[in-house]
């Protein structure tokens, strides 16, 4: 067993790493924060050295975000002290924290969709460079300096997640922050984007900035962090040295269990086709009249017991494909056959009753009634099916009972089934959704980013659930930005690019890097592990001329 630094933090959060290190950028001591019914932080102590990337890891709901919001002045701690650059401070609003050189990129984007990038960036900091051309110049300057590639006048609504992420970082840099808090910045990024982000971080570090970084992807953490602090159930349980620690050890420290892998090698694929998609087409007309092919002749078949993974940069037609399969939008052409039945024009409800399970990418928007109790959320999407209702009449008693079963079987951590879905952490919300969808023994499951923002423990459970159902003949369409997950779970891999399935790969041989390259449209046809991907890059200009 390799040696790695682990010790319970002494009560006084003195610098445990190195006495000769530069002064502390941030020191949190004895922080306690209570919410109704939960203690989010309990006597936490963290010390962050100047000019380092400090990673904060922990399960969902461990209290990481809360701690950072306290540091950023968005929450007031019930107890404890904060010191910035060795000075005791007390923040009553983020403005105070910003004035102290602290900036935060939140876990959920803090952007106003209807405003432009420029407006989002200058908001609150108008005194710095105004809101006009001076600000625009400054933004472009920062953007160039760090290679962020930000367009100041684009509407945020029109940006993809990666672009939004960069706007968030720019917002922080624009205010001249010296300490950056990044709360799960990589959850929605593809590998290349993550790499780029890390390049940015290193650059920042080189300039003497301090970064506090939260992530559930332990590999990344090891790659980029200088120090690691582990939080469990609201308290610091230890620190680790990224030079020596392994992901396995970190996971054990976080949850006290083994790090799961999405590996699933023994094949359960049968030759019975479950879902057949033929020549699915969808064109979207922009308001200004330009017609774009969002789905261009999609063809695939998923057999019983098969997981088909679709890799692709977000925004290449995945959302539209899912919506077409779910019947939430009607495609212009093509045939969808489920278990031999043509469902091309069936409404969503009929499809769900026919055996499609759905784990959407945006659980808050598409899978949950946040303000309703858990048991009502259990009914959602399956209101016509047993045990939720009989002959049009709801059966709340049975639904409640079944919800309790799901909570038990899927280890949903909740104080009860009467609490609202909003009061569950993201990971637990996801487990509830997976449990619900699996409870109706679907024939075909659409799983979009099933473990996004979910901690390692919950990830394992979700993967297990999918694997088990697959063994019993479930066909799965898996869409994920987590390439390890994609490669690990899938039996077949396809790459989607500009509304077409441009390439396929064997998950047994492909590497995430190769897949990532293919996703940029650089490769076509069958990807071989030995192939030079760039060799296949050709002739994909024709259909792009319109853009």
């Amino acid at each position: 067993m390799p040696t790695w630094h682990f010790q319970l933090l002494p009560r006084q959060g003195e610098c445990v790493i190195n006495a000769s290190s530069p002064p502390l950028a941030v020191e949190l001591n004895g922080i306690t924060k209570r919410f109704p019914g939960v203690v989010a932080n309990k006597d936490i102590a963290i010390s962050v050295r100047k000019g380092t990337v400090h990673a904060l890891i922990g399960e969902n709901g461990a209290g990481k975000s809360t701690l950072m919001k306290i540091l950023y002045g968005m929450q007031k701690p019930d107890e404890g002290t904060i010191a910035v650059d060795g000075e005791q401070v007390s923040f009553s609003s983020p403005a105070d924290a910003i004035a102290r050189g602290i900036g935060m990129v939140h876990q959920h984007f803090m952007l106003a969709d209807n405003l432009t990038v420029l407006e989002n960036v200058v908001l609150g900091g108008e005194k710095l460079y105004g809101i006009g051309s001076k600000a625009r110049k400054k933004i472009l300057e920062i953007s160039d300096a760090y290679g962020l590639g930000v367009r100041p006048d684009a509407l945020v609504e029109d940006l993809g997640v990666a672009d939004r992420q960069r706007v968030e970082i720019l917002k922080v840099l624009y205010r001249g922050a010296r300490t950056l808090i990044l709360d799960e910045p990589t959850a929605v990024l593809v590998p290349q984007e993550v790499d780029a982000l890390f390049d940015n971080l290193r650059e920042l570090k080189a300039e003497g900035l301090t970064v506090i970084f939260i992530s559930h992807k332990l590999g990344e953490v090891l790659k980029v962090a200088d120090d690691i602090t582990v939080i469990r159930r609201g308290t610091t349980v230890g620190t680790a040295d990224p030079k020596t620690a392994t992901t396995k050890q970190l996971a054990e420290l976080m949850v006290g269990s083994e790090l799961p892998t999405p590996e699933t090698r023994e094949s359960t694929v049968t030759d019975v086709a479950m879902l057949k998609v033929q020549d699915l087409r969808l064109a979207a007309t922009d308001p200004d009249g330009v017609v774009r092919e969002v789905l261009a002749g999609i063809d695939f078949t998923i057999h019983k017991g098969e997981v088909l993974g679709i890799a692709g940069v977000e925004g290449n037609g995945q959302t539209e494909l899912i919506e077409a399969l779910m019947g939430m939008s009607l495609p212009d052409g093509g045939v969808i056959t489920l278990d031999g039945k043509d469902i091309s024009t069936a409404p969503t409800r009929k499809r769900r009753e026919g055996g499609i399970g759905y784990i959407p990418e945006d659980r808050h928007r598409h899978a949950l009634l946040l303000e309703s109790p858990l048991w009502e959320n259990r009914i959602l999407g399956h209101v016509t099916e047993a045990p939720n209702s009989k002959r049009g009449i709801l059966d709340p008693k049975a639904a409640r009972k079944d919800t309790e079963r799901i909570v038990r079987e899927y280890d949903v951590r909740t104080p009860g089934i009467e609490v609202t879905a909003a009061s569950l952490s993201g990971g637990n919300q996801q487990k509830l959704i997976v449990g619900r969808e699996m409870s109706h023994s679907p024939k075909f499951l659409i799983a979009a980013h099933p473990t996004r923002g979910v901690d390692v423990g919950a990830q394992a459970q979700i993967w297990d659930a999918i694997r088990e159902a697959r063994r019993e003949g479930l066909a799965v369409l898996l869409i994920s930005a987590d390439l390890d997950e994609l490669i690990g779970l899938s039996d077949t891999l396809r790459v989607i690019y500009r509304g077409r399935l441009v390439a396929d790969a064997d998950p047994a041989t492909i590497t995430p890097e190769e897949l990532g390259t293919a996703m940029t449209g650089a490769a076509r046809g069958h990807l071989d592990a030995t192939d030079n991907p760039s060799a296949a890059a050709d002739g994909d200009t024709t259909e792009d001329e319109a853009r």
């Binding site: 780029a196 969002v294 940069v313 940029t520």
Partner: protein, 421 residues
């Protein structure tokens, strides 16, 4: 950098650039087209009052209170507070405006009307922002209270005043009206010639410079002023951010409560000004029930105008114009409007055919045909339908225009500091 290439090549239909920017030339073109159409209808139908100086000036005067209520709605909703209490704030404006106006002169009245409306706004702000109560509930309560208070207070104030009663105030001195001497007459003469398009243009321009109350000028100027403040200043940016994503604003150190308060109080002040205008300029007295739902119409005009000052002004203009049409010419004007509608529907028909939407086209054709028949077979419209003209027109315009309304994202949603996700 690799990421930029990734996102640059991403294939999703980028929505940006897609939204047709409604630019100034576009608006001018549309206005010109509309005017030409109306002119055509006027020439065919002989309803010369359609674009007369009096018509336009009347329309303007009827549009102003609605527009001010709409501006009020805009301020509040841009900061994320739905304001259905505009009607009540307007009522307060009429009452306070008249109360101060008959005693200390019209301009004091205007000021007090603003104050009265602002008080209503303040109440709405306290309930919705501080106590986080459902905005519609609060608005409804403000409306009830405003009615109750003004009627109650009238018993003690106007009732005792000479020329007043418990339902009505004494007469208020008028506010100066300006008419640009030479120009106005010249335009009126030009309009009197009934030439195609030229006379109509003269009528419109004439209407805008004839018997123009100073308060009307102020009210009209408030539209661009609002646009400038909300879209061109950092104050406005902060205010709007509270309506789009208050948590994001909070995370950047913006005091969301403060901006919401300011916005709702200003909203009330605008509505109050609208009320004062009604009392002082439109009628010269306070009259119980005088607002008659104009607050709601203002709200409708704001939604019609897509939460933008220009659109809102267009919406209130439409209301003002159709009201004026029905009041001034009654059935003759509205009869001419049938023809206008029919022609518009033909335009829609052509557009639908061009877009290969044959079903919609057929519907448009049928409606157009029906209207043509109606127009040719009758020579007036029953007064009951004349009354409905403004509302039917609004519905038709909304139904026919492509709906791309986007209200502020966090409009009407509760917000509490430190509770954001």
């Amino acid at each position: 950098m690799s990421t930029s290439t990734v996102s640059a090549t991403s294939a999703a239909p980028k929505k940006d650039g897609g939204r047709r920017k409604v630019t100034l030339p576009w608006i001018l073109l549309m206005i010109a087209g509309g005017l030409a159409l109306i002119s055509l209808v006027r020439v065919i139908s002989g309803a010369d009052d359609l674009t007369s100086v009096g018509q336009v000036s009347g329309a303007l005067q009827l549009a102003v209170p609605i527009g001010l209520a709409g501006l009020g709605g805009l301020w509040a909703e841009r900061a994320g507070v739905v304001n259905i209490g505009l009607e009540g704030m307007m009522i307060l404006g009429t009452w306070f405006g008249a109360w101060a106006g008959y005693q200390w002169g019209p301009w004091t009245g205007v000021l007090m009307g603003i104050v009265g409306g602002a008080l209503g706004g303040l109440l709405h702000a306290i309930i919705t922002v501080t106590f986080n109560v459902n905005h519609i509930v609060s608005g409804v309560a403000v409306n009830i209270l405003a009615v109750g208070f003004t009627q109650y207070l009238s018993n003690f104030t106007f009732d005792k005043a000479p020329g007043g009663s418990s339902k009505q105030s004494p007469r208020i001195d008028p506010i100066t009206e300006i008419t640009i001497p030479g120009v106005s007459d010249w335009l009126a003469t030009l309009q009197g010639k009934h030439w195609f398009l030229i006379s109509d243009l003269a009528g419109v321009l004439g209407g805008l410079v004839t018997n123009l109350s100073l308060l009307t000028v102020v009210a009209v100027l408030l539209v661009p002023a609002t646009w400038w403040v909300l879209w061109r200043t950092s104050f406005g940016l902060r205010l709007r951010s509270c309506g789009e994503n208050p948590v994001a604003a909070e995370s950047l150190g913006v005091n969301v409560y403060k901006y919401k308060y300011i916005a709702v109080v200003v909203s009330g002040a605008m509505a109050g000004l609208g009320g004062a205008f009604l009392a002082i300029v439109s009628t010269g007295i306070y009259q119980e029930g005088q607002t008659g739902g104009r607050g709601y119409i203002g709200l409708a005009a704001m939604i019609f105008g897509n939460w933008m000052p220009g659109g809102m002004a267009l919406g209130s203009g439409l209301f003002g114009f159709t009201y004026s049409l029905r009041l001034r010419g009654g059935s003759e004007n509205v009869h001419a409007m049938l023809l206008l509608l029919a022609i518009l529907l033909v335009v829609v028909l052509v557009w639908q055919l061009y877009k290969k939407k044959y079903v919609q086209g057929a519907i448009a054709a049928a409606c157009a045909g029906g209207l043509f028949l109606w127009y040719t077979l009758t020579d007036s419209v029953p007064s009951q339908f004349v009354d409905a003209a403004p509302y039917v027109t609004t519905l038709l315009v909304l139904a026919l225009s492509a709906q791309r309304l986007r209200m502020p994202k966090a409009d009407g949603l509760p917000y509490r500091k430190g509770q954001g996700k």
